[in-house]
């Protein structure tokens, strides 16, 4: 036990003072009675009935001395040391992911985590520097190296659980970097997602009661001739097989309801047929309350997209023709170099081996093998260059760069562009937004490569089209909470707004280029409105909770079991918060004073 305010022991001086006061108080007031005859009997009787009566007067004094002693100890702020409590710096990481909204521990796991963290902060040695980190989709340092407990507790109380996943990887790297700077830092994690940092003993206050939970983990739809078919996946994260009542809502109205049999630990897929196509929102609901209610709903938006029109300007390129035709939602037109007066009214222009001086301004641009032009600089030409993977989005899903380029032009990346394909000798491709148009330029003629002969060609083209065609529907229909969305709005769009499920309207453009939209904490239907000369255009997308990652409330149990089995160096260990004994001593004082009062009033 240590005392944070040992100066309080000066208060021990009160004990001799109490004794002196008692000695002074012993002088009783004289009172003459006719005879002590009866009083002697009284005193004899009292002493016979309560043998400690002789001590009574002293008992009051002893109780007061005890109370004074307890008060002095309480003022000295006694504290039972926890392991590591001597650390000068403590990192407190608080899990704010969706699973911490589960109420299987009575209150929500998040509230429990907060109260445990509060207790830890309260019990820290004064002067200890605390870094408070919230771990949700993003990892945020809420308070850095603060020894002000008041402000820490204030920050802590303001934290709220999110609907997103916990990004433990980011948290691990952030904490690891702090640890490098401050040796001997104590790391304490509150929540249900452990954080492992090699070489560091992380204390983990694991909060879970393995609550039973059901979740809608899959939600998608497909348009068929007979309307829309909806697929919902219902997962059972409990210890027993269950019949789960599920309802399907279409634009807020009940469409159908079923009981879905789901075996424990499994997911049952349910198909709902015959949903009319002229709708915008499908919602699946599990109609029972469980440990986590947020994942009992899932949304899916239905967009009746217009067909995009793309114009391929070429002397003849069968590869691009074929692959663009594969891309759903795109109607491809082809023309020669000479018909420049037709180059308007398309969403996308693909220039193959040509780039006119007057570039169309009503659509995005894709260029292969550009000649010298006014838009960007062409530096020269190389043969059989070595290609470097920059991890760009257009090479997403491409495994290994097993294609070759025979001859390509070297491009100078303009200020508005970014390099997407680098060679040893320079840039072979770049992309960027120029005058509100998306522009993607490849320095090579597709015929001078073996790309069309490899399986990656349609993938690269599809990725490119995703970026080039406005509101590319593939990646924005289903978003998880707190994920940022980069919209690909039309070049003619003058203003763009997002309407959130709660009806709030957020302007995302102007300014251009538009920033990533990240106010996606609320699950439900979002509407993107684009205003242009041609009128208003709406696009729907939904935000869902990351139920596949967060709904299994029992996954933590595995973490615990692992701990018992492995007991490895990096295994999170339980949090030892230590104990501030001041409150206990204050209670003891109260009890002692009550006893004293009782002795004074009842026991003679």
């Amino acid at each position: 036990m240590t005392f944070y305010s040992p100066w309080a022991f000066l208060g021990l001086i009160t004990i001799p003072i109490i004794i002196i006061l008692y000695l002074l108080k012993q002088r009783h007031k004289d009172y003459t009675v006719s005879s002590l005859f009866l009083w002697e009997e009284v005193l004899k009787d009292l002493e016979a009935n309560a043998p400690w009566q002789k001590l009574k007067r002293n008992l009051l004094m002893i109780l007061q001395i005890i109370a004074a002693l307890l008060l002095v100890i309480a003022l000295a702020r006694p504290f039972i040391n926890a392991v590591g409590s001597g650390a000068e710096h403590v990192i407190i990481a608080l899990d704010t992911s969706l699973s911490t909204k589960a109420t299987d521990v009575g209150i929500s796991r998040f509230d429990e985590a907060k109260s445990r963290a509060e207790q830890l902060i309260g019990n820290l040695k004064p002067g200890t520097k605390v870094t408070l980190i919230s771990v949700g989709k993003s990892v945020t340092i809420e308070e850095n190296l603060s020894s002000n407990k008041g402000s820490l507790l204030d920050k802590l109380n303001k934290l709220k659980a999110s609907n997103s996943v916990s990004n433990t990887e980011d948290a691990e790297s952030l904490i690891a970097s702090i640890l490098k700077q401050y040796q001997g830092t104590r790391v304490v994690v509150f929540g249900d997602s452990p954080i492992n940092i090699p070489g560091t003993e992380v204390e983990f206050s694991y909060i879970s009661n393995n609550g039973d939970n059901f979740a809608v983990t899959t939600m998608s739809h497909a348009k068929t001739e007979k309307g829309i078919t909806v697929l919902t996946g219902i997962s059972n994260y409990s210890n027993a097989d269950a019949s789960v009542p599920v309802s399907l809502y279409v634009d807020g109205e009940v469409f159908d309801a079923r009981n879905v049999e789901v075996k424990k630990g499994e997911t049952a897929n349910v198909y709902w047929n015959g949903v009319l196509s002229d709708i915008k929102l499908i919602e699946a609901r599990i109609d029972i309350k469980d440990a986590l209610n947020e994942d009992n709903r899932a949304f899916n938006a239905v967009n009746n997209n217009k067909e995009y029109k793309a114009l391929l300007v070429t002397e003849g390129n069968v590869f691009i023709e074929k692959v663009a035709a594969l891309y759903s939602g795109v109607e491809l037109y082809k023309t020669g170099y000479e018909n420049s007066d037709e180059w308007k009214g398309y969403d996308l222009y693909i220039f193959d081996g040509i780039l006119p001086d007057k570039i169309p301004d009503d659509g995005n641009i894709m260029v292969f093998n550009p000649p010298k032009n006014k838009m960007f600089e062409v530096l020269g030409e190389v043969e059989t260059p070595v290609v470097e993977d920059l991890g760009e989005d257009i090479f997403k899903y491409v495994e290994g760069f097993d294609f070759s380029i025979g001859k390509t032009k070297i491009l100078k990346v303009p200020s508005w562009g970014r390099e997407i394909l680098r060679l040893k000798d320079g840039t072979a491709a770049f992309a960027g937004v120029h005058e509100n148009m998306r522009v993607m330029v490849f320095g090579f003629d597709i015929h001078n490569t073996d790309i069309p002969l490899t399986p990656v060609f349609p993938i690269i083209m599809a990725n490119s089209m995703d970026w080039l065609l406005p509101q590319s529907v593939n990646n924005a229909e289903n978003v998880y909470a707190d994920e940022g969305i980069e919209f690909n709005i039309g070049p003619k769009t003058e203003e763009a707004f997002i309407e959130t499920p709660s009806g709030e309207e957020v302007q995302i453009a102007p300014p251009f280029p538009i920033r990533v939209f990240d106010k996606t904490d609320e699950p439900g239907l979002y509407t993107l409105r684009q205003k242009s000369e041609d009128g208003e255009q709406e696009f729907y997308f939904t935000v869902n909770v990351p139920s596949q990652r967060e709904s299994n409330l029992m996954k933590g149990a595995e973490v615990e079991n692992q701990n018992e089995d492995t007991d490895g160096e990096n295994t999170p260990k339980p949090v030892n918060t230590g104990m501030n004994l001041q409150t206990i001593f204050l209670w003891l004082i109260l009890i002692v004073l009550l006893i004293e009062w009782w002795v004074y009033t009842n026991a003679v």
């Binding site: 004289d30 006719s34 005879s35 009997e41 009284v42 009292l46 009842n602």
Partner: protein
């Protein structure tokens, strides 16, 4: 001093009260009480034959005319009763509000006066550990001034040892009445005193006189209780438990005396000094 003890109104009231004793006395001067002994009086009782030495005046000459034998007329003789008033004048009796010394002296004076009015022979004995002062064999209302002067000049001092002192008291006459006025705050055997008095053929009246503070003490702090007689002291701290225990001890003390009196056919009269003097006198007179 006189006015403190009695006023004339009170004395007039007292004259109306007469002590009537249940017992008849065996010997003594004529008084206002009936005696079982035969003698010369107005009320005829019986005859007996004359024997030598009898008073000639008592021979019934009418009976002699009829029977030619000498008969003596016997009459129910009426006698004065010897009344002893034992008044405790230890220091403990000079305490309380109203003060026990005043109440007890008034009572003693009143009882003495009433007895004198009834042609009784009154002895007033003031005692503590010894017989302190006394006036004995007082007769007639005129003697009351002697009682008054004794009481008015009475000092309260010394410790109570009333049982022993009474047990050693030398009764000159036979049957009589003994009235004891005391707080009985004394060690010793109450029964010894009763035995002795009953052996001396006394009809006993125990007047147990206490001040209200002795019945229900009111102490509200830590006190050093000092014995008025001995100067000894005990320290106490006031508490409900203390008062409760006092009540218990007090009740047991009073009940003990009362029970002993009841067993031995002794008249027990409890008096609170807050009672009016007439009421106290009446309490005694009504028991006689």
């Amino acid at each position: 001093m006189k006015s403190e003890l009695f006023d004339s109104d009170f004395l007039r009231k007292l004259e109306q009260l007469v002590i009537t004793s249940k017992i008849t006395l065996a010997a003594g001067a004529s008084g206002n009480r009936k005696s079982r002994a035969k003698g010369s009086s107005v009320e005829f009782s019986d005859y007996r034959e004359y024997s030598i030495g009898d008073d000639f005046k008592r021979i019934d000459w009418n009976a002699y005319g009829r029977f030619e034998k000498l008969f003596i007329k016997l009459f129910m003789e009426e006698r004065e009763a010897p009344v002893h008033i034992f008044l405790d004048n230890s220091k403990s009796m000079d305490w309380g509000e109203p003060n026990k010394s005043i109440a007890s002296r008034r009572l003693a004076a009143a009882l003495g006066y009433i007895s004198l009015c009834s042609y009784d022979r009154v002895s007033l004995v003031c005692l503590n550990s010894i017989v302190d002062k006394y006036k004995s064999d007082l007769r007639g209302k005129n003697s009351f001034s002697r009682i008054q002067s004794l009481l008015e000049t009475l000092d309260y001092s010394g410790t109570t040892d009333i049982y022993n002192t009474i047990s050693k008291y030398n009764f000159k006459s036979g049957r009589g009445i003994s009235i004891i006025i005391s707080d009985f705050f004394t060690k010793g055997n109450f029964l010894d005193m009763i035995n002795y008095l009953q052996f001396k053929k006394q009809e006993i009246y125990v007047c147990h006189m206490l001040a209200p503070e002795e019945i229900t003490p009111e102490i509200g702090m830590s006190l050093r209780l000092i014995d008025s007689e001995t100067g000894e002291f005990r320290d106490v701290t006031s508490s409900p438990e203390l008062i409760k225990t006092y009540r218990k001890v007090y009740n047991s003390f009073k009940t003990n005396i009362e029970d002993l009196c009841a067993v031995r056919g002794v008249n027990y009269i409890f008096m609170d000094t807050s009672f009016p003097a007439e009421k106290m006198v009446r309490m005694v007179v009504d028991r006689v």
